[in-house]
């Protein structure tokens, strides 16, 4: 007699439904989280930020006065690296600095590969966040220890919103989307 077999059908159906819901729950949530592309110059934040105690704003100078954090211009890099050359005092090589100086010699900007990117229909004013005391690490992760830099947070809308609601700040659509 097969009466037992047939009851196995219903749990199966339920399992299917559950799977479908879970699938939809993460749908659209797929972002390049954890993406760590190979940069033209393997720039180590650690010696600069931790070692030399440089402020983020030294290089990303407009992060506190513009929606756009800004990238250090070649001149900014060469400000130090004309002196701090491709060879350490102990003679060991600094290959990346050599690369940098080559770019500088050719008078070419460094074609950095972009990691953190919100869609074009999202307006993200950096200065509002920086001035409100949001640390760079909250969104970008512990950049000072990253080598290479990767996207730590998923930068999803839900991720933005949860923080905005928690902080009791604007979470109205027209704050970011226009």
């Amino acid at each position: 007699m097969t009466t037992r077999k047939k009851w196995a059908v219903y749990p199966g159906l339920v399992a299917l439904a559950a799977a479908a819901v879970l699938l939809s729950a993460v749908s659209g949530g797929s972002t390049p989280q954890g993406r760590a592309p190979q940069q033209p110059i393997i720039f180590p934040h650690n010696p600069h930020v931790v070692g030399l105690q440089m402020n983020c704003l030294y290089c990303h100078s407009s992060a506190n006065k513009s929606p756009d954090p800004g990238l250090p211009a070649m001149s900014t890099c060469m400000g130090c690296h004309t002196v701090i050359g491709p060879r350490r005092p102990d003679g060991t090589a600094r290959p990346e600095v050599a690369k940098l100086q080559q770019f500088a010699a050719k008078n070419q900007p460094i074609p950095w590969i972009r990691i953190h990117k919100v869609p074009d229909y999202v307006q993200f004013p950096h200065m509002r966040h920086v001035n409100a005391g949001v640390t760079c690490q909250q969104c970008h992760g512990p950049v000072q220890d990253m080598l290479p830099v990767y996207q730590q947070q998923n930068l999803n809308m839900g991720w933005c919103i949860s923080c905005h609601i928690q902080q009791q700040v604007r979470y109205d659509c027209s704050v970011c989307h226009y």
Binding site: M1, T2, T3, K5, K6, V9, C173
Partner: protein, 166 residues
């Protein structure tokens, strides 16, 4: 399980056979009929179907869920549209109603399957393809010692064929 299967051509002979078998306490009877006939219902005198309970529960669940999800969602991220109250029950009634019908209907079918033991994964003993065409069938589940009696009753009431199955 084992028992005797009788095949009938005429409705009334089948009905008579059932009454006779029930008097004889022959065992559990299953009647096959190409189309539902009240005659059998009376003869077998089963209670009313329990499908109605599934329907009721399903409908209530559906309506509740319908209202709840709509209200919960509008409170979840309050957004004013057209100057209307954030949770406004009037439009949500449409939603509640539709979900009630959906869940109610589905649970009815589920109930049907559950109580009618469907889907039946394989044909069991005591069935004959003729029952979907013109003929009526009576399958009596009974211990071997009573098979002879049952067979006799069936034949008396004009079964065109009687066979024992196991």
């Amino acid at each position: 399980m084992r028992g005797v299967l009788g095949v009938f051509r005429e409705l009334d002979s089948a009905v008579d056979a059932i009454t006779a078998l029930r008097q004889a306490k022959a065992g559990s009877i299953t009647v096959y009929t190409p189309t539902p006939r009240h005659e059998f219902e009376h003869a077998l005198a089963h209670g009313p179907s329990v499908v109605r309970r599934f329907t009721l529960i399903g409908g209530l669940l559906g309506a509740t869920f319908g209202y709840w999800i709509a209200i919960w969602i509008s409170e979840y991220w309050p957004m004013v549209v057209g100057g209307k109250p954030i949770p406004s029950w009037v439009p949500y009634t449409v939603f509640g109603f539709e979900v009630m019908v959906l869940v109610g209907a589905l649970s009815t079918v589920f109930g049907l399957f559950a109580v009618a033991r469907l889907p039946r994964l394989m044909m069991t003993v005591g069935y004959d393809p003729r029952f979907t065409e013109g003929d009526y069938g009576i399958w009596v589940e009974c211990p071997p010692d009573r098979e002879a009696k049952v067979t006799e009753v069936l034949q008396q009431n004009g079964a065109v064929e009687v066979r024992r199955e196991r």
